[in-house]
């Protein structure tokens, strides 16, 4: 009985994290972007520095009418946001924030996260196709092209860490982690972060939703709650990417007083990476579609392969 209770508690914890942390990242984005651009951002909702702005946004989204375009494929159009969002919830299940502090510790956790993250893209494709709108379709095509280009360096960079640690378990990788990995796996960390940014379609890799070119890409026809789900998927994607980067490359819960404060270290590192995600959005202009493809195939893939070679040499020498 207590085992069932523990499972329920773990699942509830993951669900709460899934509902709260993306909102936290969203609020940080509002405020950090505003200050970087010399303005104050939301100030009124909730009285203190606009902390309740996203809650107000949520209430607004729920009140809106649920519109489905006449020419759209109704069924696919309606389930697309769920397909985009649920994979990130599932991915969060296996990301550890402390020793034993994990929804479900999987032997092949790293593989699981990467496999599941790729599924979310099918949701964007479904939305893009079923809207029966040329901007949506173009956005969908860009989503697919982008995923195919960046999935390879993403997986290769993750494979480098798995090789270094000798395990695919996320907990095992953190336990095998050493501070000098910051240097040894530096290329992999950069490749992983950059291709992860492209995979969750964050600026400067937001060609699929490029508002100056194709309105809002696959999400053009969406409104109300379904639109909010797509946006939530984007922020959940940031959280998963940041947590993964922290766990794989920054040592997760490793740090001073890790026995007592391990979970805090993971959360701090995750939030620091999430802050960089926001920072990059403000700092860099959007790439053009051909620049994006060139960066992936001619820049990140060779770098990832180089890192694999370096990791292999290091692993053999220290073994």
């Amino acid at each position: 009985m207590s085992e069932t209770l523990e499972t329920v508690l773990r699942l509830a914890g993951v669900l709460v994290a899934f509902l709260l942390v993306p909102l936290l990242v969203g609020q940080v984005e509002h405020k950090a972007m505003a200050h970087m651009q010399g303005r104050v951002g939301p100030m009124y909702a909730g009285a203190f520095h606009g902390w309740a702005q996203l809650v107000a946004d949520g209430v607004k989204f729920v009140q809106k009418e649920d519109v489905v375009p006449a020419a759209a494929d109704r069924m696919v159009f309606k389930i697309a946001p769920a397909v985009a969002l649920v994979p990130y919830l599932v991915a969060m299940l296996v990301i550890p924030i402390g020793p034993g502090l994990v929804g479900q510790d999987l032997d092949v956790g790293l593989f699981f996260v990467i496999a599941v993250m790729g599924v979310g893209v099918v949701g964007s494709l479904m939305g893009g196709w079923s809207s029966a709108n040329k901007f949506s379709l173009l956005g969908g095509i860009r989503v697919a092209a982008q995923l195919m280009a960046y999935e390879l360096p993403f997986v290769l960079a993750a494979a480098s860490v798995a090789m270094a640690a000798g395990t695919l378990s996320l907990t095992g990788i953190v336990e095998a982690w050493n501070p000098w990995w910051l240097l040894w796996q530096a290329i992999a960390a950069v490749v992983f972060f950059v291709s992860g940014l492209a995979e969750v379609q964050r600026p400067p890799f937001d060609m699929p939703v490029a508002d100056a070119e194709i309105v809002f890409g696959p999400y053009t026809e969406y409104g109300g709650l379904r639109f909010a789900l797509f946006i939530l998927a984007e922020y959940a994607g940031i959280v998963v990417l940041s947590a993964l980067t922290a766990v794989l490359f920054l040592g997760g819960w490793r740090g001073p007083f890790e026995d007592q404060l391990g979970w805090l270290w993971t959360l701090l590192k995750t939030m620091a990476v999430a802050f960089v995600v926001i920072w990059v959005r403000v700092a860099y202009p959007r790439l053009r579609e051909d620049q994006l493809q060139r960066l992936a195939w001619q820049g990140l893939v060779p770098l990832a392969l180089l890192q694999l070679a370096i990791t292999a040499v290091g692993a053999v020498m220290t073994a």
Binding site: D73, G118, V119, V121, V122, V155
Partner: protein, 171 residues
């Protein structure tokens, strides 16, 4: 029947029914989406059979890459919303015959090869990455290498073919 067997049968039913929908739906893109359901259900079957690593490979490669590639190709070419009655052609009968033949062949091979093998789920070794790696790189290393050469040849061939055409077009 145990709970695991019930889950297995349910997943198999989902896989078979959605596979039939893949070939019978009059919507081209729906075919690709039903394929996601089929492949996902098969991944579930792998999980029930304790082949954990293979299950997630199935999700990563087939759902995450192959279906995305399919959808990409469909969107680039011809994918209207709404049914396309011309999708079902007269060749469906020979196609069904070939499919039946393949099913019988594969089924017979499986029955002949694994007739006496019983999977004891209580003591089954979970097909982790370690077990899979040991098997592929020790026992089956030669077929593995042959396959990789075949894939490499196909890759080079695809690049050569696409280069030929673009030179004809541009210059």
């Amino acid at each position: 029947m145990t709970a695991v067997q019930v889950v297995f049968v349910l997943l198999s039913l989902v896989a078979v029914v959605s596979a039939l929908l893949v070939v019978t739906t009059p919507h081209l893109v729906h075919s690709a989406l039903w394929l996601v359901v089929t492949l996902g259900a098969i991944a579930g079957v792998f999980l029930v059979l304790a082949a954990e690593f293979v299950a997630w490979v199935q999700v990563l490669i087939y759902v995450g890459a192959v279906v995305v590639l399919l959808l990409f190709a469909l969107m680039l070419t011809r994918a209207p919303t709404g049914p396309q009655p011309d999708l079902t052609v007269r060749r469906w009968a020979p196609a069904a015959f070939v499919a039946l033949l393949v099913a019988v062949l594969l089924g017979a091979t499986l029955v002949a090869g694994f007739q006496d093998v019983r999977l004891d789920l209580d003591q089954a070794v979970v097909g982790s990455a370690e077990v899979t790696g040991e098997t592929v790189f020790r026992r089956w290393v030669l077929p593995f290498e042959v396959l990789s050469v075949l894939l490499l040849a196909a890759l080079v061939g695809a690049i050569v073919l696409s280069r030929l055409r673009s030179e004809d077009g541009d210059d």
